[in-house]
């Protein structure tokens, strides 16, 4: 077990404390704890921990079917320290609505969180999500976006990015992965004229926590789309999840933005934009693009154009040093700007 020096109250004769003990001494609330069955480096597991930590104990979770639900529970075990309900794949929005209505009727003050993957949000659960937003239930809906149906073995969803290979959009002689575009769920959701809809990434935990806290304070439906790498489905080393997630942001492919009542109110500037190939090359799901054929070259140009479009659309290009940009957002600072 790795040890570090504990400046506070030493628990060992040599003045060190185990990382586990240190973690347990932290006053931070943990709603989702270790011991679950996620793959090493699972972005979703990291994101769920960050979200529940930031949301605090006065919550109840409605979880759609998917990796998060499956790896966090198998009777009689559970990784959840908050009340948690799993029903089906496509009804997280609706069971969350019911939970919220129940708390309202009973005078219980607890915020309802709905958790779902991209399949459970962009595709099969979209109707119940839309209904929940339209009725403005006081629910924070978090979509853990790993860009495919991972729990069933990496099938394409409408969130899968263009050209990514999945088991139902494989690369082959005739095809370069998924033919269609990634659905712009954030804008679609925001078009419900909802109070708050934002994107976040596991690469930027402070930003993610800040957005959760922001959403928790809002009375009404809020939506958070958290870009969450899946080492198994994206085919990268589990140790590189945060790095890959960061590249998704710094290339402009995943803009980190906030929309209030449909209007853009915040974005994370990119201090040093990176070419999309840096992001794509890091993942096996795009490996078919790195062959010397006109079609592959064209596809790479196309993806770069998509990133450029995001940069323009959301004004992502940073203008020098900014504590809130992609280089500053997660720097640990004493004093100065703090957002989390």
């Amino acid at each position: 077990m790795s040890t570090i020096t504990n400046a506070g109250a030493p628990t060992r004769a040599d003045g060190t404390i185990s990382l586990t003990e240190l973690r347990e001494q932290q006053p931070r609330f943990q709603g989702f704890v270790g011991g679950h069955r996620a793959c090493v480096g699972c972005g979703q597991a990291l994101a769920a921990r960050l979200v529940t930590e930031a949301a605090g104990p006065d919550v109840a979770v409605a979880n759609a079917t998917g990796c998060l639900e499956v790896f966090s529970t198998a009777w009689p075990d559970s990784a959840w320290r908050v009340p948690w309900l799993h029903s089906l794949f496509e009804n997280a929005g609706a069971i969350a609505s019911g939970m919220e209505a129940a708390y309202k009727a009973r005078g219980v003050s607890a915020k309802v969180l709905a958790f779902a993957g991209d399949g459970g949000t962009f595709d099969i659960g979209f109707q119940s999500l839309s209904g929940m937003i339209e009725r403005n239930h006081n629910v924070l809906y978090v979509c853990y976006d790993n860009e495919a149906y991972m729990n069933t073995g990496i099938q394409r969803s409408s969130s899968t990015p263009h050209a990514a290979a999945t088991t139902t959009s494989p690369a082959g002689r005739e095809r370069l992965g998924k033919r269609h575009m990634k659905k712009d769920i954030l804008q679609i959701v925001a078009a419900h004229h909802m109070p708050y809809a934002a994107t976040a990434s596991v690469a930027y935990p402070s930003d993610l926590r800040k957005k959760v806290r922001r959403a928790m304070e809002i009375e009404g439906t809020t939506f958070l789309l958290v870009h969450s790498p899946c080492p198994l489905g994206w085919r990268h080393d589990g140790a590189k999840s945060v790095e890959v997630a960061r590249l998704a942001v710094t290339t402009g492919l995943v803009p980190i933005i906030e929309l209030e009542r449909g209007s853009l109110t915040g974005s994370m500037p990119i201090r040093e934009p990176r070419p999309v190939v840096d992001y794509l090359r890091a993942q096996g799901r795009f490996e078919h693009l790195f062959v010397d054929t006109p079609a592959a070259r064209e596809e790479l140009e196309h993806i770069q154009a998509l990133a450029n479009y995001n940069m323009e659309r959301y004004q992502l290009r940073g203008s020098g040093h900014d504590a809130r940009d992609t280089a500053g957002a997660d720097t640990v600072r004493r004093g100065g700007v703090r957002w989390a």
Partner: protein
């Protein structure tokens, strides 16, 4: 106080008397009047609850699921396509052992599209693990709705109250609505021991490996069987308070020395009783109405069939390519009992086909026929069909018409 109320309106009032916390609503004929009436009670301030107008029946059931899991008394209603769209959620509600109440305004299932009454919808979800209670008239619908809320919370099971679409939902009847005091005396406030509570975090709906699935199923099956006593007890208690009872698990009506029995469910019971009274020239059959269809009251049925030579089951749903749905269960319950009667089974009144008083005479004729009809549709009019569609294997035995 007795008042003339449309069935749906009476059911809505009964629901309101039960003080639900959350009602989820989605329209479908012939159920719509129920949720409309509840909406009006809420709008007029006569009922305080969260009324959630959802975007589909899948969500109507899901909202009720989430609400009950979070400790609310929850209610919804549907029919036909709505019940089928809910199917996945209905299984889930039952498997999670969530207590709630749903009214099914029984209606046929497409295709062909039919808005009229039969029992295909609730039959389609027969094995979802819900308690299913069928009502004979609107007074019973009111009483059973109130009982259902108590049965649900006493068993941790969801209860489906089945009422025949149009025949009951859209019919004005003189109804005795109980007082709020009577209902409060009968129905304690809703308490759900496993409710989602931040002070006592529980995980509900976890995955079950093969090590646990069977045990979960066993306890669910056992709980539905054990609900029989709770259903009977609730009805008996209700009778103590109001003087009215629905008949417990099944209602038996007719002479003790009857040789012919007719087994049925729902509102056709009254028609058969009237026809029997109006036809003294025919043998008087014992009419056995299954009130509780799930749990299936096998023992009560065996007792009700004592002394009978002939049993005819009147089906209101179809299992194409199979046999009579209720008939098969009746046969299974009676199999091996001493002097078991002959059991025949026929469907009638599918998709709202009128079932006139003469239906009774046809059932008696069937009981008296030499040839045995395992299963057929009693009231099909074969002359409407091309020759090729007049299937002999699907017809009544011995050329009976």
């Amino acid at each position: 106080m007795r008042q003339a109320l449309e069935g749906s309106q009476a059911i809505a009032r009964a629901v309101a008397l039960c003080r639900p916390d959350v009602v989820s609503a989605y329209p479908i004929t012939p159920q719509t009047h129920i949720v409309e009436n509840i909406a009006k009670l809420v709008a007029d301030g006569e009922l305080k609850c969260e009324y959630v107008s959802v975007e589909s029946e899948h969500s109507a059931a899901s909202v009720a699921l989430g609400a009950a899991a979070a400790g609310a008394r929850a209610y919804t209603a549907s029919a036909s396509q709505g019940i089928l769209l809910m199917c996945e959620v209905l299984y889930d509600i039952a498997g999670l052992r969530i207590p709630m109440v749903l009214t099914c305004a029984n209606r046929a299932v497409s295709a062909p599209l039919s808005i009229w009454n039969d029992h295909q919808d609730s039959m389609a979800v027969r094995d979802a693990g819900w308690i299913q209670i069928h009502c004979a008239d609107n007074q019973e619908a009111v009483d059973t709705t109130i009982q259902a809320f108590r049965i649900a919370q006493d068993t941790d099971l969801p209860v489906m109250v089945c009422v025949d679409g149009f025949t009951l939902t859209h019919t004005l009847e003189p109804i005795e609505l109980p007082t709020q005091q009577q209902v409060d005396d009968f129905l304690p406030p809703f308490v759900f021991a496993r409710a989602l509570d931040p002070r006592k975090p529980l995980s509900i709906g976890t995955m079950a490996t093969p090590d646990w699935f069977t045990e979960a199923r066993h306890s669910h099956h056992g709980a539905v069987l054990a609900a029989a006593e709770v259903i009977a007890a609730a009805d008996a208690d209700w009778q103590r308070i109001t003087g009215r009872c629905g008949g417990g698990l099944l209602a038996v009506d007719g002479p003790d020395d009857a040789r012919i029995g007719v087994v049925c469910m729902g509102s056709i019971t009254g028609t058969l009783q009237d026809a029997r009274a109006a036809s003294p020239e025919l043998p008087a059959a014992r009419i056995i109405r299954l009130r509780s269809y799930r749990p299936f009251p096998a023992q009560a049925l065996r007792e009700a069939c004592a002394g009978l030579d002939q049993v005819v089951v009147l089906e209101r749903a179809l299992a194409p390519g199979g046999v009579g749905i209720v008939g098969a269960e009746v046969r299974a319950a009676l199999y091996g009992t001493p002097d078991a009667p002959r059991v025949q089974s026929v469907a009638a009144g599918l998709g709202g086909r009128d079932m006139p008083l003469t239906t009774y005479a046809r059932l008696i004729a069937l009981a008296q026929a030499e040839a045995t009809t395992d299963f057929a549709i009693l009231d099909v009019e074969l002359d409407k069909l091309p020759e090729a569609d007049r299937y002999a294997a699907a017809a009544m035995a011995g050329g009976q018409a």
